[in-house]
Amino acid sequence: MATATSPQTVAPGGKPAKVRKDRSRTFWDKLYSTAFIMPIMIVFIALTVIPLIQTFYFSLTDYNGSSQEIHFVGFQNYSEVLASSELSQGLYFTLLFAFMHTIFTTVLAIPLAVTLNKRFFMRNFSRSMFFFLGVPSMAILGLVWRYIFSPLPNGAFNQLLGIFGAEPQPWLADATMAQWAIIFVSVWAGVGWHATLYIAYLQAIPGDLYEQAQIDGASSRQQFFHITLPQLVPAIVVSTFLLMTGGLKVYDMPFAMTGGGPGYATNTVTQSIVIQGVAQSQWGIGSALGVMFMLASLVVVMLQMFAARLISQRFA
């Protein structure tokens, strides 16, 4: 199926086929191409472009969803978001979650992938089990962990700790503990998925690199840091990008585990927007939060891509 020529058809004489086309065909191409692109443009304009413009617009008004009069209030909504501890807490926790989730998942997924890539008994079963945890709904897994982390002495986790003589802890009732519990659970669920991604890249590393290193007397630690890790840089870039963008969107898992509590400690931006925009009809404030968060995540993602480029250049 593969041909020696470039993917574009080349007419005899080396000139692109375009020249050969007659007018009517160009017309039909144009018509069909536009017609085929139309549905996605309609969907995109209706569900992204117009809503985005509306979000910007609402964020500058006091619109509350029901009143007929819309007043232009400038940046008042923005300052209100910053002043409200509930809303700024959401910004803080979402960023904390995105960063910690990315860091811990990556740091655990790479050694896990290296281990799962070695030979051992029931390897495919273990791989599948780790991988499976990333498949079910995060909302459902979060709800289950809410029970496991029950503060009562007969909560599963507290009972397990009891075996080692530890006192029962109010896992989800303490602000800091709840934040880390959520991060822990999402790392638990996501690490196998990302390890699978790394395994795919590990298997593409040429074996002679290790052979050569062994002849040169490199320890397995040195091999890991000087061969495996640099070779995994493309995988790290992809995996952390997925983790970061996914982490910034987080909603299901924290909401399922704590409902945003205690207080607003585990409130996420998405949850705040849902509460403001849907439950309380504070469209202006919800929209301002949306705009601010969009800018914040744009900065985070761009910084990350910049860092990824630097690292890739260093090791490429």
Partner: protein
């Protein structure tokens, strides 16, 4: 599931030899064999610890409340199915599955159809128009859901599409853009000669799309369908915002609702969890090959 090879690795990177299923038996292999079993023991115990929550959920469904509270990790005294009977008789589980199935099938079909059609339209000709559309879609792709959530909800309310499965499907159609990106990257690698040849034979663009392009891009279509099916089936955000009444709930929302229904009855809650997880598990067993393929192919393009 154990036989289902996640990633088929043919050659061992260390020895460059085909791997044998059994640990090596040569003399030098003796040390290696010990290492093999030590490693197996370590990895399998880690796996067991990580899987403990799944085990806990499963065994709890056969216990009474007291039994679950007193011996959370022990095997149930009797494997009674009464929790399952209670869940099926108190909650509209069947309806919830049906709703999720209808929404997922319709939404994924539309996403993939719109996405692949647009991808074909894009490679059909190159012009300032297709270039502009391509870059606009790319910019739009990076906009987080939070930024458009309120107006999209408002649109749904305006069109009277809240509490309707149709509204949910329409919202999910936004993911066509994601499908388009995965598909267009693959489509650009297709040999254009095939399309050109079909044209000379007199096939119209629609016929070419349906009869030639779609069968050719089957690998990426499978991947996209598998990914989008999981994403749509598991979504909680939109059902939570849009759906109100009991008979419209998707399965994830139904599980969420069960938490208030069975406030203190943990075994009942774990039972509905298991019921909700079974289809996902079955789907996973049959599709993990393609999920992995998708992870890799999607990531190569970044």
């Amino acid at each position: 599931m154990a036989d289902n090879t996640l990633i088929p690795d043919v050659v061992d990177p260390l020895t460059k030899k085909k791997k044998s299923k059994k640990p090596p038996t040569t003399r030098r292999g003796k040390e290696e064999r010990v290492r093999y079993w030590v490693r197996s023991a370590i990895v399998l115990s880690i796996t067991a610890v990580v899987m403990l929550p799944l085990y806990y959920i499963f065994v709890s469904t056969f216990k009474t409340q007291t039994e679950m509270a007193l011996k959370p990790f022990a095997l149930p005294e009797s494997w009674s199915l009464s929790n399952y009977v209670t869940v099926f008789t108190t909650l509209p589980v069947g309806q919830a599955f049906l709703n999720t199935l209808i929404v997922t099938v319709t939404a994924v079909f539309l996403q993939v159809f719109i996405g692949s059609l647009a991808a074909y339209g894009m490679i059909l000709r190159k012009s300032w128009f297709t270039a502009a559309v391509g870059s606009i879609l790319l910019i739009g792709f990076t906009i987080p859901v939070q930024a458009t959530l309120i107006p999209v909800y408002r649109l749904g309310a305006k069109l009277d599409l809240t509490n309707s499965l149709l509204g949910l499907v329409i919202v999910y159609m936004g993911s066509s853009v994601f499908c388009y990106f995965l598909i267009v990257g693959y489509m650009r690698k297709l040999p254009m000669e095939l399309i050109e040849a079909a044209r000379i034979d007199g096939a119209g663009p629609w016929t070419i799309y349906w009869r030639i392009v779609l069968p050719l891009i089957r690998p990426i279509l499978t991947t996209v369908v598998v990914f989008q099916t999981l994403a749509t089936w598991n979504d909680f955000l939109w059902p939570n915002i849009l759906l109100v009444s009991n008979d419209k709930r998707t399965i994830v929302l139904q599980v969420f609702n069960a938490i208030s229904e069975f406030t203190t009855d943990w075994p009942l809650f774990m039972t509905i969890t298991v019921i909700a997880l079974v289809p996902v598990m079955v789907f996973f067993v049959f599709t993990q090959r393609w999920i992995v393929a998708g992870l890799i192919s999607g990531s190569v393009k970044g």
